[in-house]
C-alpha cells in the first residue's frame, strides 16, 4: 500500500469513527444526572452482601472474574519484564559504589518506611470498608520498601529484599485468587461466587470473600512490583553492557 492510499484509509476510518462516536455521545445520559440504572443495582447488591465499599463489591464479588483477568495481566507483564531484562551471557555485573545520602534523609527513611508499610497494609485490609484495596495497598507497600533505595542505599535494599522470595509471593498471590474461586466451585456455587458468610456490615470481617481476594491481590501486586523494580534496578545500577569489540563470556 502506498503512503497516499494509507492516508486515505486513515481519513476514512477517522471520519467513520468520528460520526459513530458523535452519534453515541448524543445518546449518553447527561453528566451528573439522577438516573443511574447500573449504579443503583450495584449498590443494592453490595449492601445485600454487607460490603460497605460498593466499588470493592463490584471488583471482587459481582465482577470478580474481570479482576482475575486484570490480575493476570499484571502477572504476565511482570513475567515478561523478568524475561526481557534478565542478565545475558555477555553482560557484566559491577557492584555499584555507595551513594552519599544526607543524614536527615536517612533518618526520615527509617521512620517513613515502617509507617508507609503499615499504611499500605491498612489500605489492603480495609478495601471492603473504605476506598482502597489490594492493588492500591500493594503498590504502597512495594513503594515503601524502595524507600531504602531512594533514601538510603542500593545495597541496603538488596540486604532486605530476597527477590526469589518475592517471586514466590507473586505466584502465590495469583494462585490464592484462583484457589478462592475454585473453593466456591467445591462449595457447589459458580466460580468466584461469594460463598463465605457475609458478616456484620461495616466491620473488618464483612463482605465474605471480598477481603480474602483483596489480600490475595495485595500480596500479588506488592511482590510483583518489587520483582519488576528489581529487574529495572538491576539493569540501571548493576548490569553493564557488553564491550563492543571483545565479548568476555559469562559473568554469572
Amino acid at each position: 500500500m502506498s503512503r497516499r492510499v494509507r492516508a486515505w484509509v486513515l481519513v476514512l476510518g477517522g471520519l467513520g469513527f468520528a460520526a459513530l462516536f458523535a452519534a453515541a455521545c448524543a445518546g449518553l445520559p447527561h453528566f451528573g444526572g439522577d438516573l443511574h440504572p447500573y449504579g443503583d443495582r450495584a449498590v443494592r447488591a453490595a449492601l445485600l452482601r454487607h460490603t460497605a465499599n460498593a466499588v470493592a463489591s463490584v471488583n471482587f464479588d459481582q465482577r470478580a472474574f474481570d479482576t482475575l483477568g486484570e490480575e493476570s495481566i499484571l502477572f504476565g507483564a511482570v513475567l515478561g519484564t523478568v524475561v526481557l531484562l534478565r542478565q545475558t551471557r555477555d553482560e557484566n555485573r559491577r557492584p555499584p559504589a555507595p551513594a552519599p545520602v544526607a543524614a536527615p534523609v536517612r533518618r526520615y527513611a527509617r521512620l517513613a518506611l515502617p509507617v508507609t508499610l503499615l499504611i499500605g497494609l491498612y489500605i489492603v485490609a480495609h478495601g471492603q470498608l473504605s476506598p482502597g484495596g489490594g492493588f492500591q495497598g500493594g503498590v504502597v507497600v512495594a513503594t515503601a520498601l524502595h524507600l531504602l533505595y531512594i533514601a538510603v542505599d542500593y545495597r541496603a535494599l538488596e540486604r532486605i529484599r530476597p527477590v526469589g522470595l518475592y517471586e514466590v509471593g507473586d505466584a502465590a498471590g495469583e494462585a490464592a485468587y484462583l484457589l478462592v474461586g475454585t473453593g466456591a466451585l467445591v462449595a457447589g456455587a459458580a466460580f468466584l461466587a461469594n460463598v463465605l458468610p457475609y458478616g456484620t456490615f461495616n466491620t473488618l470481617s464483612s463482605g465474605g470473600t471480598v477481603p480474602v481476594l483483596n489480600a490475595a491481590i495485595g500480596v500479588e501486586v506488592a511482590c510483583g512490583v518489587v520483582v519488576l523494580l528489581a529487574r529495572f534496578l538491576d539493569q540501571a545500577v548493576e548490569i553493564e553492557d557488553p564491550p563492543a569489540d571483545a565479548p568476555e563470556g559469562a559473568a554469572k
Binding site: V55, I123, A142, L229, F232, D241
Partner: protein
C-alpha cells in the same frame, strides 16, 4: 458555580496530558507525568471516585517516575560507555 471544581479539574487534566505528549525529553516528561498523575487523582476525587484516585496516586507519585528515570539512567550509561570507547 458548584461545577467549578470539576471544570477546573478537567481543564487541569487536559492541559497536563497535552503537555506530557508534546514534551520529548524523557526526564522532563517524567515531571509532567507526575503532574498529570496528580491532576487525574484530583479529578477522580472531585467526581467521587476515591478508589481510582488512590490507584492513580499509588502508581503515579513514585512508581512511574522511578521506572522512567531508571530507564533513562540505563540508556545514558550506554551512551556514555560508547563515547568512552570511541575516545579510547
Amino acid at each position: 458555580m458548584s461545577e467549578l471544581p470539576v471544570l477546573l479539574g478537567l481543564l487541569f487534566v487536559a492541559v497536563a496530558a497535552t503537555a506530557t505528549v508534546l514534551v520529548r525529553d524523557p526526564v522532563r516528561q517524567s515531571f509532567l507525568l507526575s503532574v498529570l498523575g496528580l491532576a487525574l487523582a484530583l479529578l477522580f476525587l472531585l467526581l467521587h471516585a476515591p478508589d481510582v484516585a488512590l490507584s492513580q496516586l499509588a502508581v503515579g507519585s513514585a512508581l512511574t517516575p522511578l521506572m522512567v528515570l531508571l530507564s533513562v539512567r540505563k540508556v545514558r550509561r550506554r551512551a556514555r560507555d560508547e563515547r568512552r570507547e570511541e575516545q579510547a
